[in-house]
């Protein structure tokens, strides 16, 4: 098992942990990865990965308009909006 770089994982997942949490999660994750490493004992050469439990292709639907954008309704649950736009901190100075 390779060392787990919690700081890197937190950056990828956009999470922040304090020092105590980092230590605890590091220990937990090491144990979780050690547990899942049992998988490596089984030879899976040539086995097709199963992404979806029930066979079948995704169906296509007729090219008809069935939904309309109801911006006001969807934005009514947003934390901060103005003039139909979602507000975030300034990105470009």
């Amino acid at each position: 098992m390779a060392a787990i770089d919690i700081t890197h994982l937190c950056r990828l997942a956009q999470l922040a942990l304090d020092e105590n949490e980092t230590r605890a999660v590091e220990g937990d994750l090491e144990r979780i990865i050690r547990m899942v490493d049992q998988m490596q004992a089984i030879d899976t050469t040539g086995i097709e990965p199963l992404a979806h439990p029930v066979a079948g292709t995704q169906r296509l639907r007729p090219d008809e308009i069935t939904e309309t954008v109801d911006r006001e309704r969807f934005q009514s649950i947003a934390p901060a909006v103005e003039d139909g736009l979602y507000l975030v901190p300034r990105v470009v100075e």
Binding site: A13, E21, M39, R90
Partner: protein, 491 residues
């Protein structure tokens, strides 16, 4: 009004409504009163929607007057707080969604509303359905009605506790790796997770999309089948919804589940019984009861069973880390105060909004999907998922259904496993394989260990709900475990 029985099957309550023994408003009031009387000690509801319930009950009473009824008209139910309900908060047990009110109804909610059911409220759950004890809820742990110091199981622990205490006749749940079956076992209930694709996932807050499936808790299999008759069926709004019709299941709305025409051949997988410490005697007794009813038993092998927990925690973690990336503090959900910049907005909103177990799962999934580990973990887990499914497909060439324990033990004390995620994950050891394979599975009460309920699990082939429910009906015809209720919740 004659007093209803809080533990009665739906069909009996429906007869009471049609015979005017009580109105839907009286029946709804009766369960609302039970919730206010008993739920303080259990915490099984996150929100109780009294005004809405009484309005639905009045509408049901009008339809009863007009004779325009379904098998659910006027019957109180509750929804796991993971199904979106327009106008009512859907928290998913998380601070992230504490104030989230969905702008639309989940298909399950819409269908049950249309059938005339009355929604009493939304039930407690592990945050984002991640947990096996309901202790990961932002809204507090739930007590098991058989002993409130013990957990009800999870993640649908609130729904299980509410039905077991007679606070609602039935409740919806969802099951990703055992979240209906394990709490059903811990609370002495019947609970079913149908085939993946049987019930629309539209409007269910996503955890692991290739595994999540809606289902239901009740006392006996008749109520499960009746609810499934309304909940299941094709939905164009869910791209994984099955188009396979089931006339038998649709008919279960109006007639009780019969016993099978031909007694089924039942497989006992050795991997599930080797080393079982609790419940062996109850499972032996269940086997004898089914044998007396004509069933044949055959030992079978599911050789990759031990790989199910490792594969599951990679696949579910990977899918969760992807699904939960949508929570960014911008469009809906929790947003931190005074973000300094965009990065700070994302990071603090997520850090404040998610609890520890959710963070652990996101980080596990992030690890499995990150550069250099993708093939070793994610692809490997999907290959094992194939082998696990192949094990089941081979077994179903020999047997009609498979019987196993539902959980490795009975309900445990709150706090016992909270510091040990690996031990907590082992709770799912018998339920996760059917989830990975997308198979329907049913948990039925089958006895007690030191005063606490035990469950047996029946697993069927894809779209084999009929075989499961009829085998369950055969078992419940000859046993009365599903009619045992915890003390202290009398009318």
């Amino acid at each position: 009004m004659s007093t209803p029985d809080a533990f009665a099957p739906i069909a009996e309550l429906a007869r009471g409504l049609r015979a005017r023994a009580f109105s839907s408003r009286e029946l709804t009031r009766y369960f609302l009163d039970r919730i206010s009387r008993y739920d303080g000690a259990l915490n099984s509801f996150i929100s109780v929607t009294e005004a809405r319930a009484l309005a639905q009950a009045d509408a049901a009473d009008r339809r009863l007057q007009e004779g325009q009824v379904t098998a659910l008209t006027g019957i109180p139910i509750a929804h796991k707080d993971l199904f979106c309900t327009a106008g009512v908060a859907t928290t998913c047990g998380s601070r992230m969604l504490e104030r989230f009110v969905a702008p639309y109804d989940a298909t399950v909610v819409a269908r049950l509303d249309a059938a005339g059911a009355v929604t009493l409220g939304k039930t407690n759950m592990d945050e984002f359905a991640m947990g096996s004890s309901n202790e990961n809820s932002y809204f507090g742990a739930v007590g098991n009605p058989w002993n409130p110091a013990l957990v009800p199981g999870g993640s649908s622990g609130g729904s299980a506790a509410a039905v077991a205490a007679g606070l609602t006749p039935v409740a919806t749940g969802t099951d990703t790796g055992g979240s209906i079956r394990q709490p059903a076992a811990f609370c002495g209930l019947s609970g079913i997770k149908p085939t993946y694709g049987r019930i629309s996932r539209y409007g269910m807050v996503a955890f692991a999309s290739s595994l999540d499936q809606a289902g239901v808790f009740g006392h006996g299999v008749d109520d499960l089948a009746l609810m499934l008759a309304f909940m299941s069926g094709f939905d164009p709004r869910d791209s994984t919804s099955s188009e396979q019709p089931d006339a038998w299941l649709a008919g279960a709305a109006n007639s009780p589940v019969g016993v099978p025409e031909r007694a089924p051949v039942i497989g006992l997988p050795r991997e599930y019984f080797d080393g079982l410490r609790v419940g062996g005697a109850a499972l032996d007794a269940a086997r004898r009861s089914l044998e007396a009813a004509g069933c044949q038993f055959r030992e079978i092998r599911l050789p990759h069973s031990a790989m199910a927990i490792p594969a599951y925690y990679i696949i579910a973690g990977a899918e969760a880390s992807t699904n939960l990336s949508r929570y960014d503090g911008v469009r809906f959900g929790h947003r931190c105060e005074n973000p300094k910049n965009l990065e700070d907005l994302y990071r603090r909103s997520r850090t404040e909004g998610f609890g520890m177990e959710v963070k652990r799962r996101i980080l596990t999934g992030t690890y499995a999907l990150s550069v250099g580990y993708f093939d070793a973990y994610y692809v490997k887990a999907q290959q094992l998922r194939r082998l696990i499914q192949n094990d089941f497909l081979a077994a179903f060439a020999e047997v009609d259904v498979i019987l196993t324990p539902t959980a490795p033990g009975v309900a445990f004390p709150k706090g016992d496993l909270t510091d040990d995620p690996i031990a907590m994950y082992q709770q799912d050891i018998f339920t996760v394989p059917a989830s990975l394979a997308g198979l329907p599975a049913l948990s039925l009460p089958c006895g007690f260990h030191e005063g606490l309920p035990l469950g047996l699990q029946l697993i069927g082939p894809h779209f084999g709900e009929r075989a499961l429910l009829e085998t369950g009906a055969l078992y419940q015809r000859d046993t009365d475990w599903h009619r045992r209720h915890p003390e202290g919740f009398a009318a």
